[in-house]
């Protein structure tokens, strides 16, 4: 990549079927913004809601690259809602001439395995240590009978962003 990665503004997204977690990086160590945008059915047609909500974030931060953490290629093909979200995102990205990079769950996990953490909560704790701004959003460790905390998607997005800066750009896809 021609421009300086240390100051690259990256929007990392963690796409789920009803919400998307986002984290905006300015370089690998500086967070600008973070949060969750919901596009649950009650908000209206999926494509319109996604376009509007993600469009607002894109307009606000004008990233030079977007990193998309996806559960798996198979799920993107099979899950109707995720497929619509990813396609809408692709359209938005094309409209704004931003580079888009997909990072699968396994690649992100493998990246953090090299740093000695294997579990989702372990990765989130590591990120909370590295980015104190996120620390107060860190949910307690989930018990097997509990559902995942709403804010966990922010940490998944942050993990994708950190992996993006850590992994060579040649693996872009």
């Amino acid at each position: 990549m021609a421009h300086d990665r240390a100051q690259e503004r990256v929007l990392a997204l963690d796409v789920r079927s009803r919400k998307v977690g986002f984290v905006v990086f300015e370089g690998p160590d500086n967070l600008l913004d973070w949060g969750v945008k919901s596009y649950a059915p009650q908000y209206g047609p999926l494509e319109v809601t996604v376009s509007k909500k993600i469009g607002n974030v894109l307009k606000l931060v004008l990233p030079s690259a977007i990193v998309l953490r996806i559960p798996s290629e198979r799920l993107v093909r099979k899950n109707g809602r995720i497929k619509v979200v990813v396609n809408t995102l692709r359209k938005e990205v094309r409209r704004r001439s931003v580079s888009l990079r997909f990072l699968g769950r396994q690649r992100v996990k493998k990246f953090f395995m090299g740093r000695g953490v294997t579990t989702k909560h372990g990765i989130a704790s590591l990120l909370a240590e590295r980015f104190p701004d996120l620390a107060w959003k860190l949910p307690p460790k989930r018990k097997p009978w509990q559902s995942e905390a709403y804010s966990m998607t922010i940490f998944d997005a942050a993990a994708a962003g950190v992996a993006h800066f850590g992994l060579p750009v040649a693996n872009k896809g």
């Binding site: 600008l32 913004d33 973070w34 606000l60 701004d133």
Partner: protein, 118 residues
């Protein structure tokens, strides 16, 4: 005009603090969080008293909170100073007027040296 894209870091500092827009508005003594939202998005510029309030609240200089705007203003002032310097140098005068012009030119040169040093 967008916020972080144009170098407005108000939202970033507010989120770091964990305060909501309404809470920031309450602390600054302004109507409601909607105004804070407009400042964050760059749709409105805060008045001087509110800007100073933001600086005191987040402990960050205004020039850092509105970095993009600060840089633009600094560049514009720099350009105008250059123009003023050229204009002053072209003036020819005698007596007290020439002394005042010389004083202004000296100040401009000192200013430029300070900026180059910084």
């Amino acid at each position: 005009m967008t916020s972080q894209s144009s170098g407005n870091y108000l939202r970033t500092h507010r989120k770091r603090s964990g305060l909501s827009q309404n809470e920031v508005a309450r602390v600054l003594g302004i109507e409601n969080g909607g105004l804070v939202c407009r400042y964050e998005l760059g749709h409105h510029l805060p008045p001087l008293l509110v800007a100073l309030g933001l600086e005191a609240l987040f402990q960050v200089p205004i020039s850092q909170l509105f970095r993009g705007l600060g840089e633009t203003v600094a560049r514009t002032v720099e350009d105008r100073l250059l123009g003023l310097g050229t204009e002053l140098q072209s003036r020819s005068g005698k007596g007290p007027q020439a002394v005042i012009t010389a004083k202004k030119l000296q100040w401009l040169t000192e200013c430029r040296n300070v900026r180059v040093g910084a």
